[in-house]
C-alpha cells in the first residue's frame, strides 16, 4: 500500500473507508515489514520525546548555544497564566510548546525532527495544545502524528523539506501543513479537509525564506515555529468551518517546490540574506551581543 500524491492518498482513504492516519500506519507496517504494534511503539516513543522537549523549558528555561534565544516558552506560559493572553488558551499553548522545543533543540537537547530539527516545534506545538484543550488520549495524538507523517512524506517525495533547497517554506511551511492536516483529523474532519488545510498552509507560507542569523537554528527559527503553529490552527479552523481551498494540495506542493528552486542562494540557509543580512543580524558575533 503506497501513494505517490495527495489524490492517491484520498482515493485510498475512500476505498478503505479509513482515516489518513490509518493508511499511514498500515503502509508503515507493510513497507517496513514489521507489525503495526512496532510502528505504534516507535510513534509513542517519538511523542514522549516531543512532550518532554515541549514542556521542560516552560518549567526550566535554558539558554541556546549561540545565545540568541532562551526563556521564551516560560514567558508565553506565564503570560497565559496571568489571564492576559490575547489569543487565548489553544494558540498560546501551541506557541509556548513550539518555542520550548526550539529552545531544547538550540541548547543541544533531545528532540524529534518533524520534518527537520529547525521546524521541530510546530507539530508538537499544535498536537500537544489540542491534547491539553480537548483532553485527547496519547493514542489520539500518535494517530495525529501518523497523519502528519503522511503529509511530510508527500513533501519529501514530491518537493523538499530542506531549507537549503527550498527555503523556510519547505521546513516550517511543511511542518505547519503536517500539523494542520493532523489537527483537522483529530477534530473529526474528513481526509479531504485535512489535505485542504495543508494546502491553505502552503499558500499562507509560500515564499518564506531561510535566513538564520549567524547560520544558527535560533533566530528567526523559534519565532517562525510559533507562527507556523498558529497558521496551522488558522488553516484547520477554516476547513472545519467548511471553507474549501481553491487550489488542491498536490498543486500547492508543486508550487512551493518551484518557488523554492527559484529562491537565490542567499535566501536558502546560507545566512547571507534576509534576517541574517540585517545590520543586527549580520553583527551577530561581532561583540555587540
Amino acid at each position: 500500500m503506497d501513494f505517490k500524491n495527495g489524490a492517491e492518498l484520498l482515493k485510498l482513504c475512500r476505498d478503505k473507508d479509513a482515516r489518513i492516519s490509518d493508511i499511514m500506519r498500515w503502509r508503515e507496517a507493510e513497507l517496513s515489514e514489521t507489525d503495526i504494534s512496532e510502528a505504534d511503539k516507535r510513534m509513542h516513543k517519538a511523542l514522549s520525546i516531543m512532550r518532554e522537549a515541549a514542556e521542560d523549558p516552560i518549567k526550566d528555561p535554558r539558554r541556546s548555544i549561540g545565545g540568541l534565544i532562551g526563556g521564551e516558552a516560560k514567558k508565553l506560559r506565564d503570560h497565559m497564566s496571568s489571564g492576559k493572553s490575547l489569543v487565548g488558551g489553544l494558540v498560546s499553548r501551541a506557541m509556548a510548546y513550539a518555542c520550548g522545543v526550539l529552545e531544547v533543540n538550540a541548547s543541544m537537547g533531545l528532540i524529534v525532527a518533524a520534518p527537520t530539527a529547525g521546524s521541530s516545534g510546530v507539530v508538537p506545538g499544535v498536537l500537544l495544545s489540542i491534547q491539553d484543550e480537548y483532553g485527547l488520549s496519547d493514542e489520539d495524538i500518535t494517530a495525529g502524528l501518523f497523519n502528519a507523517a503522511a503529509i511530510g512524506c508527500l513533501a519529501m517525495r514530491n518537493a523538499t523539506v530542506a531549507g537549503a533547497v527550498g527555503g523556510c517554506q519547505a521546513e516550517v511551511g511543511v511542518a505547519s501543513a503536517m500539523a494542520a492536516s493532523a489537527a483537522v483529523e483529530l477534530m473529526g474532519g474528513q481526509p479531504e479537509a485535512s489535505l485542504g488545510a495543508a494546502s491553505i498552509v502552503l499558500m499562507d507560507m509560500l515564499g518564506l525564506v531561510c535566513d538564520p542569523v549567524g547560520g544558527l537554528v535560533e533566530c528567526p527559527c523559534q519565532q517562525r515555529n510559533a507562527a507556523g503553529a498558529s497558521v496551522a490552527l488558522t488553516a484547520a479552523e477554516m476547513v472545519l468551518s467548511g471553507i474549501e481551498p481553491f487550489i488542491p494540495f498536490d498543486e500547492m506542493l508543486s508550487a512551493m517546490y518551484q518557488v523554492g528552486r527559484k529562491l537565490p542562494a542567499e535566501l536558502r540557509e546560507t545566512a547571507l540574506g534576509g534576517c541574517a543580512a540585517t545590520p543586527s543580524g549580520s553583527c551577530f558575533g561581532c561583540g555587540k551581543r
Partner: protein
C-alpha cells in the same frame, strides 16, 4: 524510489540543533569509528565549509567527538563529549579550515590512530536531514552511506581479487545490494565497497583476507 518511512518524517530522534550539522556529524564519526579494527587512542578532525564556519554554534565538534566514542545521534551525552573524552583519555584535536572553498560545504576529515598504532583517515559529508556519506578513505575517493551493512576491502589492483570477494559472499549466501570499485592508480591500492541488505557475518573478514592481494578488510554493520 526508496521507501520514505513515517519515521523519516517524524524523526530522527536527535540531539539538536541541526540534522546536518549535529546529527549528520555524529553519524559520520560513528561510521569512522566502526571502520577501526581497534580502540581509538588519538583522533583529529578537520572541518570544512559550513562545518568550519558555523560548526561550534551547532555543536558539530561535540557531535563528532561523541560519534567517535560510539554515541548514537540521540545520545544525551553528546553535549558533554569533550569532558567524557578527556575522562576516557582519548586524545583529540579540532582544526576549523575556513579557507578551503573547493569542497562540499559540510565536510570533515577524520584521522584516527588506534591503541595498537593502526592509522586510518576518512572523509565524510553530511548531506542534510541526517543523511551522510563517506567520500574518501586514506586519500582514495570512495562512496558509501552506512545505511546498508558494508564490507570495505583494501586490496592491490590485480586480476581476480573482485572474483574472490564475490565468491566469499556467495559461498555464505549473501546477496549483494551494491558493489563499487575505486582505485588510486592502475596496479596500486584499490577499494572494493560491498553493501548488503543483510547483516554480514564477522568471519567474512578472515575469509576475504585469504587472498594474497587483500591488505585489509573492514566491516561496518548497518
Amino acid at each position: 524510489m526508496p521507501f520514505i518511512s513515517a519515521f523519516d518524517v517524524i524523526g530522527p530522534n536527535m540531539i539538536g540543533p541541526s540534522s546536518s550539522h549535529t546529527a549528520g556529524a555524529c553519524s559520520i564519526a560513528l561510521l569512522a569509528r566502526k571502520m577501526m579494527p581497534e580502540p581509538i587512542a588519538k583522533v583529529s578532525f578537520i572541518l570544512y565549509g559550513s562545518f568550519a564556519k558555523t560548526g561550534r554554534g551547532h555543536g558539530t565538534d561535540r557531535a563528532l567527538l561523541g560519534g567517535i566514542m560510539g554515541f548514537q545521534t540521540d545520545d544525551r551525552r553528546i553535549p558533554v563529549s569533550y569532558e567524557l573524552a578527556e575522562e576516557a583519555g582519548l586524545e583529540f584535536r579540532f582544526i576549523f579550515d575556513t579557507r578551503e572553498e573547493d569542497i562540499y560545504p559540510n565536510t570533515v576529515d577524520i584521522s584516527m590512530t588506534g591503541e595498537q598504532g593502526f592509522a586510518l583517515s576518512v572523509r565524510g559529508e553530511s548531506l542534510g536531514g541526517g543523511k551522510v556519506r563517506i567520500s574518501r578513505i586514506n586519500g582514495v575517493d570512495v562512496d558509501f552511506s552506512g545505511e546498508y551493512s558494508t564490507l570495505i576491502v583494501v586490496q592491490k589492483d590485480k586480476p581476480g581479487v573482485v572474483a574472490h570477494i564475490t565468491r566469499c559472499l556467495s559461498d555464505r549466501g549473501i546477496n549483494i545490494a551494491f558493489m563499487k570499485l575505486f582505485r588510486e592508480a592502475r596496479g596500486e591500492t584499490a577499494y572494493s565497497i560491498v553493501e548488503s541488505d543483510d547483516r554480514l557475518p564477522e568471519d567474512i573478514i578472515k575469509k576475504v583476507k585469504e587472498n594474497k592481494y587483500v591488505k585489509d578488510v573492514m566491516l561496518v554493520q548497518a
